[in-house]
Amino acid sequence: MNGFGGFLMRRTIGTLATLLAISVIVYVVFYVTPGNVAQITCGPRCSPEQVHQVAQQLHLDDPLYVRYWHFLQGLVAGQDYSTGTSVEHCSAPCLGLSYQTDQQVLSIILTRLPVSLSLVFGAMVLWLVLGVGTGVLSVWRRGRLTERVLTGLTLAGWATPVFVIGLVLMIVVCGELQLLPFPQYVKFTDDPEQWAWNLLLPWLSLALIESASFARMTRASMLETLAEDHIRTFRAYGVGERSIVGRHALRGALAPVIALNANNFGSAVGGAVLTETLFGLPGLGQELVHAVSVVDLPVVVGMVLVIGFFVVLANAVADVLYAVADRRVVLT
């Protein structure tokens, strides 16, 4: 099958296979990780009997493949879970219940996903504008003071941890100048305006860091394009520098920017832990770190699958964008 339909189908199959493989790996990694999961789940003050009971309830003593089989069953057909006092039905696609809270993993994810997506989408717009803009500017003014200042700034941006920028922003903007209230997550559906105002600082601090790598990437690949033969052609035809840089060199530099963006977007969905923690945003990253620390396997697997899904999705979108940006690319 050819064309866009074929591409979508191949990608969907590939995505499912990737996600399955990821889930197997997570199961195996947690299985071989040392430590008594039942003890951790039950808490430090549990008696050996209680720990044993928890282990049974969570099927921790079953062999790995049985537990994985249960997981798959839940995913496809749903599952009933006994929580000790009652039986809870978890309908398909069921990612299981949290060891810690007995909450359905899917609902945990669904409450946290909008937060992460809000953060990352907004930040992405900013980092693209800032990063690519800085890159173009430094290429256009290459060899001059502007370029050196911008190069220095991006290097500094690259080297600064997000919590430093975030803290400084918060202290200055919210504390000293009192331009904004200290950020607090507001749902987009509740109040779009407050949503944006509250996310402004998290967006800025995440974007400032990320934009540094975009600036460097844009600059490097534009300089590479500028050395190509077709740029020489347009110079030899009297086309001005503004059009050469802004039209021809930038277009040639888009592909690596698209690739980098897919990568950074995908990893920021589950990986913006520092930003989330700093600004108190209840996103995926925060929850994932917590779940890992208490060996809450169902939550970890669910989270990793969702994050993996976004990474794969971001890359598929990038491939489509490649083909739009460069007609020589054939989607396969």
């Binding site: 190509e228 033969d229 077709h230 020489r232 052609t233 347009f234 110079r235 030899a236 035809y237 009297g238 086309v239 001005g240 059009s243 039209r247 021809h248 277009r251 040639g252 940006a325 460069d326 007609r327 020589r328």
Partner: protein, 530 residues
């Protein structure tokens, strides 16, 4: 007033003087060729005419006047108004010279708008008009194509169309046909000729190919090491060269009508192929690169395989060596069917730069086939490599040197030494001299001939250059679209071609004699209209 007046031009890059005291003039409507080998500074001169060295760190001395603009004193703005509007340039590689991301019509329109400040619509219309003028069929539709959707010849036409967009007084063509097949080259040269007749623009042609110059210009300037060797009317300089270098250059140019002394061919068949077929891709996208090719090569003989790009000649060469498995048919060597590579059949590749590992010394590269055969004694390897290096005209002491320290011709000699290391009976040479200057080319061809006589080698010489193939071959096979369409003794095929395609190919080869060139151009027009 002359269209171009260059006086005492010097161009220096760092400490290197690329152009040294060059002076010439070009009158309005006239055509001048700068002819020289690589490194002679001819392209540097072409760039200097448009002030393209401004801001690159090159030091340009002397005076340059183009279409009334003093290029040396001109501001950036004045230079931009000169470039493309009064003097336009056509480059060698038409694929890399166009922006891959934009439609061809848009690129031409952009250039037009820079100089005329016309509307977008008018610029687009002008683009279609010039594309039509250079012979792009269905130009309104094709103007929306990207460069990769055009063939090599069409791309070069598109670049020429871009040059024509603003009706320049001077066209600078820097190796405009070097990347093209010979039939396409003839079409482009004919196009340039016609355009010049019609528009009266001056032409400055930069080329390494004396034949291309003879076809296209009135005056010629031979360059070497950045200096003028000889200049004057093309009939005089090429017909009766006064300088030894010009004579050397001319004698090195292979002639398509030269008869060659035959090799000592024995009856012994060393390599034969029957019903060879090779497909690439699957299903609807399958392409048959080689289709039902049968050939034999005798000991001591050279078989020339000639064809244009895409004719399947390289694929055939690779199958003969065993680098590619045929889809059907078989290759027999000394009467035995063969699978995979065989030390008795070696290959010399086209590009001596990329076919040697830049991170290993040439001695190590030559030693590879010896080691592959199981030789472990370092002393013997060293001895054999030294012998091979000397045999191909290099020095034994070159063992430790790296490819970048050698010139193109020397690198190709290393490639030949590497092929010889395995004591082959057959060497398949895939375009072994097409990346080399004519004088170097002549030396490498002479070396191959010597080795053949001495070692009784059979050679399969794959090339697109008809003259070179005639120079080296006893028998010739002409390939087109994967098939051998004509084969026979070289003299017969060249002097009495039977197939119309062979005739067309031979008619397209540039002649060294300008008068003959004019006759052949007329003949091509007839062939085209017939």
């Amino acid at each position: 007033m002359s269209l171009v007046r260059v006086t005492d031009l010097t161009v220096e890059f760092g400490g290197l003087r690329a152009v040294d005291g060059l002076s010439f003039t070009l009158e309005r409507g006239a055509a001048l060729a700068l002819v020289g080998e690589s490194g002679s500074g001819k392209s540097t001169v072409a760039s200097a005419l448009l002030g393209l060295h401004h801001g690159t760190g090159a030091r340009v001395g002397g005076s340059i006047e183009v279409a009334g603009t003093d290029v040396q004193a001109a501001s950036d703005g004045e230079l931009r108004r000169l470039r493309g509007a009064k003097a336009a340039m056509v480059f060698q590689d038409p694929l890399s010279s166009l922006d891959p991301y934009y439609a061809i019509g848009d690129q031409i329109a952009e250039v037009y708008r820079v100089h005329t400040r016309g509307s977008r619509r008018a610029a687009r219309a002008r683009a279609v008009e010039v594309l039509d003028r250079v012979g792009i069929p269905d130009s309104p539709r094709r103007s929306r194509s990207r460069p990769h959707e055009f063939s090599g010849g069409m791309r070069q036409r598109a670049l020429i169309a871009m040059a024509l967009a603003c009706e320049p007084e001077l066209l600078i063509a820097d190796e405009p046909t070097t990347a093209l097949d010979v039939t396409v080259q003839a079409q482009i040269l004919d196009l340039l000729h016609t355009l010049r007749e019609e528009t009266g623009m001056g032409l400055l042609l930069v080329t390494h190919d004396v034949g291309v110059a003879a076809e296209s210009v009135d005056d010629v300037l031979v360059m070497r090491h950045g200096r003028v060797v000889e200049q004057g009317p093309v009939v005089g300089v090429l017909g009766a060269p006064a300088q030894p270098y010009t004579r050397e250059l001319l004698s090195a140019v292979p002639r398509v009508d030269a008869v060659r002394a035959p090799s000592q061919v024995s009856d012994e068949v060393v390599l034969e192929a029957s019903g060879l077929r090779r497909e690439f891709g699957r299903g609807k996208r399958a392409v048959t690169a080689v289709d039902d090719v049968t050939l034999t090569v005798h000991r001591g003989e050279t078989l020339g395989v000639v064809g244009e790009s895409g004719s399947g000649k390289t694929t055939l060469g690779r199958m003969l060596v065993g680098l590619l498995e045929p889809t059907a048919g078989e290759v027999r060597h000394d009467g035995h069917a063969r699978v995979g590579v065989n030390p008795a059949v070696q290959m010399v590749f086209q590009d001596p730069v990329s076919s040697l590992n830049p991170r290993r010394s040439v001695g190590e590269s030559i030693a590879d086939p010896l080691r592959a055969r199981g030789e472990r004694d370092e002393g013997r390897i060293r001895e054999r490599v030294t012998e091979l290096l000397e045999r191909v005209g290099l020095e034994g002491a070159h063992y430790q040197r790296y490819p970048h320290e050698f010139s193109g011709g020397q690198r190709q000699r290393v490639g030949i030494a590497r092929a010889l290391a395995a004591d082959p009976r057959v060497i398949v040479c895939d375009e072994p001299v097409s990346a080399l200057d004519v004088t170097t080319q002549a030396q490498v061809v002479a070396l191959l001939g010597e080795l053949q006589r001495e070692l009784g080698l059979a050679l399969v010489f794959v090339a697109h250059d008809l003259a070179v193939v005639r120079q080296v071959s006893d028998r010739v096979a002409v390939m087109r679209r994967g098939r051998i369409i004509e084969t026979g003794p070289a003299d017969e095929v060249y002097d009495h071609p039977r197939d119309p395609y062979t005739r067309q190919l031979l008619a397209a080869v540039p002649a060294l004699d300008p008068e003959a060139a004019a006759r052949r151009r007329a003949a091509r027009r007839e062939l085209a209209s017939a």
